[in-house]
Symmetry: C2
């Protein structure tokens, strides 16, 4: 399991030995519940215990703005900003020819299906600023722009609170390229 | 001296004891040369051994674009990108009310003087993305925009190669705000 090495595993095992049978049963049930009760949202592919996730169900959110992300945990950093009130679409990966992951392995078909159903004002591509994430964003923009959609990409640049001195070459280049009029 | 602690100082002292008198003299002269021969460029306030620095002297550069930075070392990360072919203006600091540094302590007057002399197509504010650097950028944009100048700010966002997971709240907010159409 990620983050659990030999020492942590041993500590957990001894902890389980010390706990009551009921507590162990509750943990065992919780492990099974993850597999039995959690599935993917039928709309956005986010993890959900119902057929549509809490963002897709929320009528107070703007369903005309879709933020495309690689994995479900990527929703967290976007939500904590409280700046985004649209809905999400989880691709469950990024295009990576080296690892044999092509567009057909990602949840792109269900994204296209969503675009056909409603008025979409903007698609924000928030895949990671890595080679794979950037490639996926370029692929999606070439796919979506001919449909007449507004496609935007989150900004790459120097992190807030940092110093020019610590900026690597590629980030500094992006920061200059993406400069905005004040 | 920055970066030289007690141990390094001792090591340097013993190294000097071992070197020849001529080498010690050359080092001593180099130290004096820094004070005697280096000054500030009369145009952009960059460190220079002549009255105008190598960027201001270079006629192949675009003298209508001025990149405003806090300190002379900030030129390095911008130059390594090879994306910028304009000239610089070094403020020698940033506005910081807490440390008692106001606009009058910075080299802003000489910036305004430059604007009066030639055709300026763009001023890029590349002060650091810190509270002080951002405050200085806002101050300068309020000063320069009424003069009819195009004033831009370098982009803040997620560094290239990073992951949304590691983005702090403020940087993620900036990254969403500064998103660009693809």
């Amino acid at each position: 399991m990620p983050g659990v090495g030999q020492k942590s595993a041993q500590r957990i095992a001894f902890h389980l030995l010390r706990t009551s049978r009921e507590d162990a049963e509750r943990l065992a049930q919780a492990v099974l519940d993850v597999k039995d009760k959690l599935g993917l949202c039928e709309i956005c592919n986010n993890i959900s215990d119902t057929s549509s996730c809490l963002y897709c169900r929320d009528t107070s959110r703007d369903h005309t703005v879709i933020c495309v992300i690689e994995e479900p945990p990527n929703i967290v950093p976007i939500e904590v900003t409280r700046q985004f009130n649209g809905v999400y679409h989880v691709l469950h990966g990024a295009i990576s020819p080296l690892r044999g992951i092509g567009p057909e392995q990602l949840r792109i078909k269900s994204l296209l299906a969503r675009l056909g159903t409603g008025n979409i004002s903007e698609i924000i591509l928030a895949t990671n600023p890595t080679v794979e994430g950037e490639g996926t964003a370029v692929y999606l923009s070439r796919l979506l722009k001919p449909l007449g959609l507004k496609v935007t990409r989150i900004a790459m640049g120097i992190p807030v609170g940092s110093d020019l001195e610590f900026a690597d070459e590629v980030t500094m280049t992006k920061s200059l390229e993406n400069r905005r009029e004040m």
